[in-house]
Assembly symmetry: C2
């Protein structure tokens, strides 16, 4: 079924007939070789999924008739991941994997030890959002994370609400593990997690985050690449309970 | 420090003077521009790590003097991951990420829905082992997983000892989550986990695994790509407790 899932604009699911975006229509016709009458899924990337039937399909485009629309409950807790900005291939991998892992928001941060700079912040954001949309069609998740343009570390940490469980993955932290931090705050409805760039957080950043209410904790046994730490953390938040 | 970590043969750490492999010596000289007297780490990929000092370094090679050798305790539980064989890029990603996540053994399986076939099984195994060695130098893990050549599903599931917690990640399973399966068996000293290829396990395979003592469980909220499921599962086993 995954091959027959198409991403449409949220507004499109308001009507009964939906025109597929040109790229999706071409994919349906040339790659999937679908025909009128075939069942397809339409997702809007924001939690709604429609069962639909392909009504027409030709060089000019594709039109689907919506049979049923359902709104999928977002997983809990709400998860806001804040990775230090990484080089492009690592950020691309994150855009895809954090979509599969149903992360709600990704706020990348410019840290003291971030190598890439914030040039083309809007283009970066748009690229990650596009990669996330492609990933959605493959994975079955109903929502793409919302990607924000990279922002300064100091600004990002201020945005976390006091009601959220705020975690700082910090490799210098050997006292408290992620598991222990989660046991201490089992009912959080929202989690914000800061993950350092390659090279980790500076001592000053760790101190700032601590003052802003972030609990420093570590992943024992090994030192992960920065992108792997983000993926591992999202995995634990999503799958270690429930 | 990660840039100054070198992989050597296990036997090399028996002596006090260690000759770096030619590739490592060239890297130390040309890329890292190290000089005699510089401190380096030597790892054998099997849990031993030596603090050493570079004694000589030239076109002919590099020799280190070992100051101290320590054996790092393996993380518990022992984790044997059995992914359905995937296409080469996905397997390459797994080789790296499962090394970072300190997986002990990787036994890839030829499943009913595996697309790649078992051609060049030895070459595949050697490639993954080499990628794991490179990954070791970048992360701080002390051991590379042991990669086995791909084997038939039926053979792999027979190898799991009865004392191990045996898990089958099965997307048709909506009754029991991974978290619930782990709660039910908290003290396992060894975990074996089967993860399907793209397309998942066949019903017949799921039945066979069940008869062999594997507990079917699912990852709620989303359907992950096969390689992401392996990474997520290893993350949960390694970091959700302790």
């Amino acid at each position: 079924m995954s091959a027959r899932r198409f991403l449409v604009e949220p507004a499109a699911l308001e009507g009964q007939l939906v025109q597929l975006p040109p790229e999706e229509a071409a994919h349906a016709r040339k790659v999937l070789r679908l025909s009128p009458g075939d069942e397809v899924q339409l997702i809007d990337g924001r939690g709604r999924r429609a069962l639909a039937v392909l009504q027409s399909l030709n060089k000019k485009g594709a039109v689907c008739r919506v049979e049923r629309v359902e709104t999928l409950e977002p997983p809990r807790p709400r998860l806001v991941l804040c990775p230090g900005l990484l080089k492009a291939p690592a950020m691309d991998l994150l855009a895809v994997k954090l979509t599969e892992l149903a992360v709600d928001q990704v706020r990348s941060m410019l840290c003291a030890r971030s190598v890439p700079r914030a040039r083309d912040a809007t283009a970066k954001r748009e690229r990650w959002q596009r990669l996330a949309g492609q990933a959605l069609k493959q994975c079955g998740a109903a929502r793409a994370p919302q990607f924000l343009a990279p922002g300064p570390f100091e600004e990002v940490i201020k945005q976390a609400p006091a009601s959220a469980l705020r975690l700082l993955l910090y490799e210098e932290e050997t006292g408290l593990s992620l598991a222990q931090a989660l046991v201490a705050a089992p009912a959080a409805d929202e989690v914000w997690a800061l993950i350092g760039p390659e090279g980790g957080f500076s001592e000053d950043e760790a101190a700032q985050a601590g003052q802003a209410g972030f609990v420093p904790c570590g992943l024992p046994h090994t030192i992960l690449r920065a992108e792997t730490a983000s993926i591992a953390l999202a995995s634990v938040i999503r799958f270690a309970r429930g």
